[in-house]
Amino acid sequence: MTEPVLDVQDLHLAFGALKATDGVSLTLRRGEIHALIGPNGAGKSTLIGLIAGTLRPDAGQVRLNGRDVTGLDAAARARAGLARTFQVTTLAPELTVLQNAMLAVAGASGAPYRFLRPALSDPALVERASGYVARVGLAGRRAVRAGDLAHGERRRLDLAMALALAPRAFVLDEPMAGMGPDGAREMTVLLDLLKREAPILLVEHDMDAVFRLADRISVLVSGRIIASGPVEAVRADKEVQRAYLGEERLA
């Protein structure tokens, strides 16, 4: 079997007495969507932070394409091929759609220290950025400021920027949040597009979307993975039903 693209081994992180991440291991294999679900406060955001490099673990390892990236910061992990999006979609609001995408292309190319050559009219940069913007269906909105976009459009731009990194793995933090039924359908199509580029670790609250999209599911409760496996197996798991699905239904 080939080595997983993303390999998380026994991560630990405690904030004081709270074990936010308590021995988490998971893998992301080529060509799959691996969904990470869990109730509020389960430690999903902490885990994403540890994987993306904004948080440092107390113990454990994160490997990307066989390379240990645990000691790298967020920027270095992005350059190593990890593209993440944020739960609250965050872009540079005063820049246009195209400029945001150009920022991503410039970041991916690892050459931001060019001071005098114009970037905004650099055909190579504009062309590549335009391509990514078009792929998420925002071609007609490229001159609009990111801050003026509708919620769903921001999500799409966020994905375009992740795509622009030409990553080895995507880590998407609740891309369906606040999208509504139409938006969620649209997002499903986009996630399919992303999946063709690189495998996706999908942290998601929307159960229907997860069951529809994911190849494998891991369930995080109180900082631990309590179940992991194919969709049907996890759905049938008694402990999962009690810890998570049941709560959801009661809520």
């Binding site: 967020a74 920027a75 944020f86 872009l91 609001p93 970041g107 060019r114 009219s121 001159a143 400021r145």
Partner: protein, 327 residues
């Protein structure tokens, strides 16, 4: 819809027309005022890169302005005293040549900005403001107690330094030189703002976390911008010292930092000509109102209050609207 370039051209034209008219009317003092406006604008152009594009609210740019001024004094004072600049580790004479002084001023300003920036950028928000302020005040008190250069009284450089091919004692020629430097700096800022670095810095100001997730390092981008910013403001300091033919610790005082910041915010932070408009208005108000009342800064304060409350893009923003991004 592209009013900003037109407005910029008008500002530039006014800055050029005033001294020419003043010369024709035999009012050399007005030429000096325009020169002062151009130099202060240059100081603002430096801060604008850090504050406007980089989002670093530095209340310590007087440090770089003063370092530029003292760089001039350190190099030029030995010449008028018929002494060498140093004899150890090697013999080095002082200089009265502006290009050499400018290089030294910018290098010193950049070095100071590297040290101050590297330490200050570990913090953010109010702490960044306070730490930059503290560094500038440290240098201020150092200068006050530095007897070699006049301490509190400062030091006079009796003859203005020279520039090849120009008579710098002629007010109009010195003005032209300062305007030329200002234009070069504006040109460089225009290019930087549109370069990859400018785009990345703009992103780092608006959303450092997202920019880091794109593989860029916000802290490093900001530090580089801070260093360039310090060098430009130091160059302005060297010119300002040459304008007055006098350097004193007041150049390093935090009030100077505040004034440079006022130029930028009054004119429009992040707008290319913002500091030019701001500095011109500052000098104009000082001249017009300063003669009427000692409390002219009250009116400046009111103008600043109005701009901050009602026109977030400063004067340029109020007159030209939002910055036009691209096609």
């Amino acid at each position: 819809m592209r009013r900003e370039p037109l407005l910029n051209a008008l500002i530039l034209l006014a800055l050029l027309a005033v001294p020419l008219a003043a010369q024709a009317l035999d009012e050399p003092f007005l030429v000096t005022l325009a020169t002062k406006a151009a130099i202060l604008a240059l100081a603002g152009v430096g801060l604008n890169l850090a504050l406007g594009l980089g989002g670093m609210v530095s209340l310590g740019h007087a440090a770089f302005f003063g370092i530029g001024g003292y760089a001039m004094a350190v190099l030029a004072a030995p010449v008028q005293a018929y002494e060498p600049l140093m004899t150890w580790p090697m013999d080095l004479p002082g200089t009265k040549s502006m290009p050499a002084i400018w290089l030294a001023a910018m290098a010193a300003g950049a070095l100071a900005a590297l040290v101050i920036g590297a330490l200050s950028l570990r913090t953010g928000g109010v702490y960044f403001i306070m730490i930059t302020l503290a560094f500038a005040q440290m240098l201020y008190y150092f200068a006050v107690s530095w007897p070699a250069y006049g301490g509190e009284d400062g030091i006079s450089i009796y003859v203005r330094n020279g520039f090849p091919g120009l008579d710098t004692l002629d007010p109009l020629q010195f003005f032209g030189l300062c305007l030329g430097v200002l234009l070069l700096a504006l040109g460089a800022m225009h290019l930087i703002a549109r370069s990859r670095f400018g785009l990345a810095l703009d992103g780092a100001r608006q959303n450092p976390e997202r920019v880091a997730a794109l593989g860029l390092r916000p802290a490093r981008l900001k530090l580089i911008a801070f260093v360039v910013s310090g060098a430009v403001t130091a160059l302005a300091g060297a010119l300002f010292a040459d304008l007055n033919r006098f350097v004193s610790p007041s150049m390093l005082h935090w009030q100077t930092s505040g004034e440079i910041m006022v130029f930028v915010i009054l004119g429009g932070a992040g707008r290319l000509f913002g500091p030019v408009a701001g500095a011109a208005i500052f000098v104009l108000l000082e001249h017009l109102l300063g003669g009427i009342s000692d409390y002219w800064k009250l009116f400046l304060g009111l103008a600043l209050l109005g701009i901050v409350l009602f026109a977030r893009g400063g004067l340029i923003g109020a007159l030209a609207g939002r910055a036009v991004a691209h096609d």
